[in-house]
Symmetry: none
Subunit: 180 residues, 4 copies
């Protein structure tokens, strides 16, 4: 990588960092490209030179972020933890992270794009497959259903859980409300 590319790489990271931080604070429609450019010490024009539009810029930032997140997930999946611990770890890996996946849902989910969504889906399929192999997920629940179930919990955890609530929530995950 030559000097030009390194510089571009660095600016891209600054832009991503600023965009990410401001997105969380104010939400997609309330952050202006000018603000992001200012926070990244870059000209607004540079943002457009790099990404074309505001939307595209956020899309790339989110894909970048999602790739990093998925790397963490994969690591957890490959670890030596027991299966329930893995699930817990995955869910807690989200906690306190990008809440905007919830907040400006329509905007942001659409931005996240098919590629990232597909990657995430594939990770889920592996996670579920492993769960079935290890006997934690009964066959009678269809993949689609379990995926939705997992997703629901992930979203809940993304909003933030205080640690004292994490444990009981996970118990509900496995055993539900009925106590018998």
């Amino acid at each position: 990588m030559n000097g030009f590319e390194r510089r571009k790489q660095k600016k891209t990271e600054q832009i991503f960092a600023a965009a990410c931080s401001l997105l969380q604070k104010y939400g997609y429609s309330k952050v202006s490209v000018n603000e992001i450019a200012a926070a990244a010490h870059v000209s607004p024009a540079t943002v457009f030179n790099y990404f074309g539009t505001k939307e595209q810029m956020f899309a790339e930032m989110l894909e970048d972020w999602m790739d990093k997140q998925l790397a963490k997930y994969e690591e957890i999946l490959e670890s030596s933890l027991a299966y329930p611990e893995k699930l817990k770890a995955v869910m807690l890996a989200e906690a306190g992270q990008l809440k905007f996946l919830l907040e400006d849902l329509r905007d942001v989910q659409h931005l996240l794009g098919n590629r990232s969504e597909e990657k995430l889906r594939q990770f889920f399929m592996k996670l579920i497959a492993k769960g079935r192999t290890e006997g934690y997920i009964p066959m009678e629940f269809a993949d689609e259903l379990v995926q939705r179930y997992l997703n629901m919990y992930l979203r809940e955890f993304r909003q933030g859980v205080d640690p004292s609530q994490a444990e009981p929530m996970l118990r509900l995950f496995f055993y539900g409300l009925s106590n018998t």
Copy 2:
């Protein structure tokens, strides 16, 4: 009710309907008051005469909507259904309804206001209390936890479920992922 009041009432409903529909389609920040006014066959100025600000207009619309929704819930709670059926009915009462409670979370939840949130919370408390009396909700789960759990499911159902998935989701609600 005289002519003036009837007319105003009617226009208010038109505005609420237009606002609700457009809010779902595009989200809070992407809908302009002009669009809503046009859809409601009303001048933008009228919207401001009625509600003062865009924000206030949505707040009142949401409160109105929430009151109607709560009325349905109460009716279900007072019905002769078995408890699990009641829960199911409450959840399905949301399906296909106002998705925006999720989508522009920051904006809209804030708009919903304390009054409505409190009303909803109180309904939940009654629902949970009844569940405990009838033995469906064990004492060992704190109110706070159950409320969060219910909320999580409600939110999931709000996004829409096809009926074939409703049943298994409710099974998970009571018995969790574990199948033993």
Copy 3:
């Protein structure tokens, strides 16, 4: 005057009072007809029924006010005071009064209209004539000049003088800055 006319008269006075008070507080362009109507416990439509336009309404209000003011001036002119005392009295009669004659000058002076301005000019002519007769205003100063001079002082006094400054200002009026 029958009942209808009395009612109209009363409403007109309420409107004038509200308009006058709000004009002083906020200035011509920052007061809306709706505000005035509200303050006068009257419908905005009534204001337009009576006066046609906002501008016309203020014009009539100002003419009304000016007529009352001129009546006071005439009384002073006809009184038995010494001439310099009369001048002083006229000037102080303005103090603390309608400052807007200064503030939104362009708007308001234009509103005041030719009729009122002419009445005021005529009063000044009488005042000056009397001053000449009594030897206080030398012939070498043209009417036009003296009128302007008086006006300048009147405007100054309209902005408000604290009583301790009134006396020296009047001394300057007669003897100027030179002290010999």
Copy 4:
């Protein structure tokens, strides 16, 4: 100064000129930023990029204008003219100039800001001090009073005097109405 700065400087001047001219013609609240932008051959957005708000734009324009005006005054004060001639020159330097200092008083005086007002006050103090030294302003008149007196005349001259009236007005300034 590079190309960017020159261009910005030029546009700023165009905006100031347009704002000044239109302010005199129509008064603060009746001039829209759009009008000013059009007259300055600039986009309305540019005005807001430069100054943030309409108010701030006028404030800066007035400060700019006042600085130039004060420079003229200082030059007169330092000149070799006799004191009365200096006073006359200062007053005539205003003639035909910014009448709005009178007209939208509330708005504009507030915009002029403390800085400019303070600069003007300081110039007045110097002018008065010089007048005392040279024996044209007797000690028995307090600074405050003289300042007000000067101000009153300045305001009068700002409204415009035809030259034939300037001389007698200045005679009144020194000797008042009394002729003895």
